[in-house]
């Protein structure tokens, strides 16, 4: 019986992951953080890609599977088993893991799960109440469903890359494979909806997610503009169609910036008074948002001449005190060293790491005040939890386990 006082949101949930890439594993990361038992199936031939990151200072060390910092961000808190799924005995074990699970998450290339004997039809045969999410670049039908993509490809393919950035640039994409994160958050929600349905009806179901379609949906109004009027939506950079000033301004120091966005006349007056531009408060050139949009460049030049003398955090503090939305453009060092707010909220999480002792990682931002969740550990190697999962959870005998190991179905470390 679970202890209700320490129970987390997903304490009684069992998840099996057959994931690759990043859009799948991040779902399991959230679920493990919220108390679910998440078993991540890998094979030595196809380790999770986040394991492949080699820090530039450790080039000679090559790939060290448990050392990648991204491993913590995408994979921490799970149980890791290594199976050679090209062997039918390994597939039998995988099915036994699925038989005792509530949820399966997979984002293999199209057709791989079926080829392995782990398609939806195979899995509901062993677990009729199963919920299974398949997440792929293009979805599971359509002429290009077998094509390969990564998150950054989708950012450009979905139209987001060409709509983003300054007008003189062809395409602007993030450094953080945005479609992977957004697909993971949509996939998580889709699974939780299916769990709600199952709690009421007992019925499981299959969910298919196209990362391309989830990403196009995130620029819905721009797409509607295009669909209705057959034209390219405005490419705005940091500007807004309905607010001014609205931009990113240079501050004192090397590559230091702050943002300021003014949405109403009260904020405009507060900005003017703070910058010593009292005369502008009743200047007709800036009387309302429409007028300010017309004269944005004039305003931006005056703001820059003020921000250039100050640090981004100083600008933020002064303007926020006056009620004007403003923020420092923070790099990683700012986030960790110069953000007292994140520190006070305990946002960054210190996680035990099997080889490094402990690591600090970006928090999981679920915001559950009563069941906040936590991350058990990081740094597991492939197959780290083989013994625990096959002996303790599947209750195989030592002889059975040895048999699977001898034929290479269960893969153990070197």
């Amino acid at each position: 019986m679970l202890d209700r006082a320490t129970e987390q949101a997903l304490s009684d949930l069992k998840v099996v992951e057959f994931t690759a890439g990043m859009a799948g594993p991040w779902i399991g990361r959230f679920m493990a953080h919220c108390g679910a038992e998440v078993i991540r199936v890998e094979s030595r031939k196809y380790p999770g890609v986040v394991r492949l990151y080699v820090p530039p200072w450790d080039r000679a060390g090559g790939v060290r599977e448990e050392m990648s910092p991204w491993f913590t961000d995408w994979e921490a808190g799970k149980l890791f088993v290594a199976l050679d799924l090209t062997k039918p005995e390994a597939v039998q074990l995988a099915r036994r893991l699925v038989a005792r699970a509530d949820v399966v998450i997979e984002n293999q290339s199209s057709g791989v799960m079926a080829k392995l004997g782990l398609a939806w039809e195979d899995l509901i045969a062993v677990n009729p109440q199963l919920i299974m999410l398949s997440s792929s670049g293009y979805g599971d039908s359509g002429p290009h469903s077998s094509y390969v993509t990564w998150g950054p490809n989708i950012e450009a393919m979905a139209g987001l890359g060409r709509l983003s950035g300054f007008p003189e640039r062809d395409c602007t994409t993030t450094q953080f494979a945005y479609p992977d994160s957004l697909s993971a958050l949509h996939g998580l929600f889709a699974i939780l909806c299916a769990l709600d349905h199952r709690a009421r009806t007992g019925e499981g179901q299959r969910i298919s997610l196209s990362q391309l379609e989830a990403t196009v949906g995130m620029i819905g109004p721009q797409m509607m503009d295009c669909l209705a009027h057959d034209r390219e939506p405005a490419k705005l950079g940091n500007r807004s169609l309905h607010a001014a000033p609205h931009g990113c301004y240079r501050c004192a120091g090397e590559d230091r910036w702050c943002v300021i966005s003014v949405f109403d006349d009260a904020q405009w007056r507060a900005l003017c008074e703070t910058l010593g531009l009292g005369a502008w408060t009743d200047d007709p050139r800036f009387a309302n948002a429409h007028a300010r949009l017309e004269n944005t460049e004039l305003i931006d030049a005056r703001i820059s001449s003020w921000t250039e003398l100050r640090s981004p955090h100083e600008v933020m503090e002064i303007l926020q005190s006056a009620g004007v939305p403003a923020g420092a453009v923070q790099d990683t060092e700012d986030q960790f060293e110069r953000d007292p707010h994140l520190k006070a909220r305990g946002f960054f999480e210190t996680i035990p790491h099997l080889t490094k002792g402990e690591v600090v990682a970006t928090g999981i931002p679920v915001g559950l005040t009563r069941t906040p969740g936590h991350t058990r550990e990081s740094g597991a190697r492939m197959g780290e939890h083989n013994a625990y999962v096959f002996r303790d959870l599947l209750e195989l005998s030592p002889e059975e386990i040895r048999g699977y190991e001898e034929i290479g179905a269960i893969e153990n470390g070197d």
């Binding site: 503009d225 940091n238 990683t332 915001g367």
Partner: protein
């Protein structure tokens, strides 16, 4: 628009007291079948006035952002600044599973409608608050916006060209990601309440969800390798090669990650251009082996791509299992043959406006399919249905509330 299939969130009632930063959360739940009631101030929510507008006519019924973000919801007007409005809100809260709100921290408490007050009348209630910085901490009262969240959340510093100022993504990605996380968190809390009988307050911070979404270039990696992630155009720090490459009629995006993908690409370049150097074994292995040759490899690739059309590189590259994809404009996305074959875009019959085309399902559930159950509501469209039909208010009471501009 409607089918007979069941909905995943049948019987879930949600009150939405949210501006455009949180409305996507309610849309996600409403399109999965929750009964989401959007509570607007009398006269309508200011987000109805956000551009762009259908046919460029600046009319509060034509805002594309509002029409998109509020599908499948019912709408009422209510002034919770007035005592009689608050009394009605409390009655609605009695029958709700979830309230989504985007007011400044502490505002609901000040109105007597905070989590503790609402829990006293409805112990299983989940209250999800979406704000710029969350409900606690020294910046909790800071004003936020899409720009502020992108800046403070680390997404902006690493986006764009090194020689340009930092830049945000198009749309309102940080707000909508916070709203998406809020939808998942709300479901987590609802599932937990279903087992234990106890609701909770969900505290979503746009700064934190932005940090989480951008964590690949975040604090964990920096603390480990000491490298502060920078803006570097469309190329990616840890994938070599990666980024956009010019073709004869546009551009393509390429990302190479696994060693096998590099070998396939090198062979293709060699076949197309006769380049022998590209086959050098020193370029093989994980991306880290290629980092110092990034510019050289970009030249090798461009020499090939520039001689071909986007479609040629895309389809031949894919035939070779190399992740080449087109860099699409919005007009190319709406004409994309793959999306068309999947019937991705849908039409919503919007009263007075006709059929309005928009993006469709982000996911497909086999038993409880995503669908738009009704168009975005007009101002106060369901006042009578909900206040008279469900709360049982008499006609003269409704008329009095309208006269006092409570509804």
């Amino acid at each position: 628009m409607s089918t007979d299939a069941p909905v995943a969130l049948a019987g879930r009632r949600v009150l939405e007291l949210a501006d455009e930063s949180g409305a996507y959360c309610g849309k996600l739940m409403a399109d999965m079948g929750a009964d989401v009631i959007k509570v607007e101030r009398p006269g309508g929510d200011p987000s109805r006035h956000l551009p762009p507008f259908l046919d460029d006519r600046a009319d509060p019924s034509r805002g594309l952002s509002f029409l998109y973000l509020n599908t499948s919801k019912r709408g009422v007007t209510l002034d919770i600044e007035q005592a009689s409005g608050r009394a009605i809100f409390e009655r609605l809260a009695l029958s709700a599973d979830l309230i989504i709100e985007t007011l400044p921290p502490g505002r609901l408490d000040a109105l007597g409608l905070g989590f503790d007050a609402l829990r006293a009348v409805n112990p299983a209630l989940v209250l999800t608050s979406i704000t710029g910085f969350g409900q606690t901490g020294p910046h909790r009262d800071f004003r936020s916006s899409e720009l502020v969240a992108a800046a403070m959340g680390g997404a902006m510093y690493v986006t764009g060209e090194a020689e340009d100022p930092p830049v945000v993504m198009a749309g309102a990605q940080c707000s909508w990601m916070a709203a998406t996380c809020a939808a998942s968190s709300s479901m987590l809390a609802l599932l937990h309440a279903g087992r234990t009988g106890g609701g909770q307050h969900v505290d979503i911070s746009m700064q934190e969800t932005t940090l989480a979404v951008s964590h690949i270039s975040g604090v964990g990696k920096w603390l480990d390798d000491g490298i502060i992630p920078q803006r570097m155009g469309t190329g990616l720090f840890a994938s070599v090669p990666s980024g956009t490459y010019a073709c004869s009629d546009g551009s393509v995006y390429l990302m190479v990650n696994r060693p096998a993908h590099w070998k396939a690409l090198a062979q293709w370049i060699n076949q197309e251009t006769g380049n022998q150097e590209v086959l050098d074994p020193m370029f093989e292995g994980p991306s880290s082996n290629r980092i110092e040759y990034r510019e050289l490899l970009d030249i090798f690739i461009s020499d090939m791509t520039v001689k071909h059309s986007v479609d040629e590189i895309y389809h031949e590259g894919q035939r070779r299992h190399i992740a080449f994809t087109p860099v699409n404009s919005a007009q190319q996305v709406v004409r994309d043959p793959h999306l068309a074959a999947r019937n991705y875009f849908c039409e919503v019959d919007q009263p007075g406006l006709g059929r309005v085309r928009q993006p469709g399902a982000p996911y497909h559930h086999s038993s409880t399919p995503w669908r738009i159950h009704r168009p975005a509501p007009g101002i106060g469209e369901h006042n009578h249905e909900i206040y008279a039909g469900e709360l049982g208010l008499e006609e003269d009471a409704l008329a009095a509330l309208a006269a006092e501009r409570v509804i």
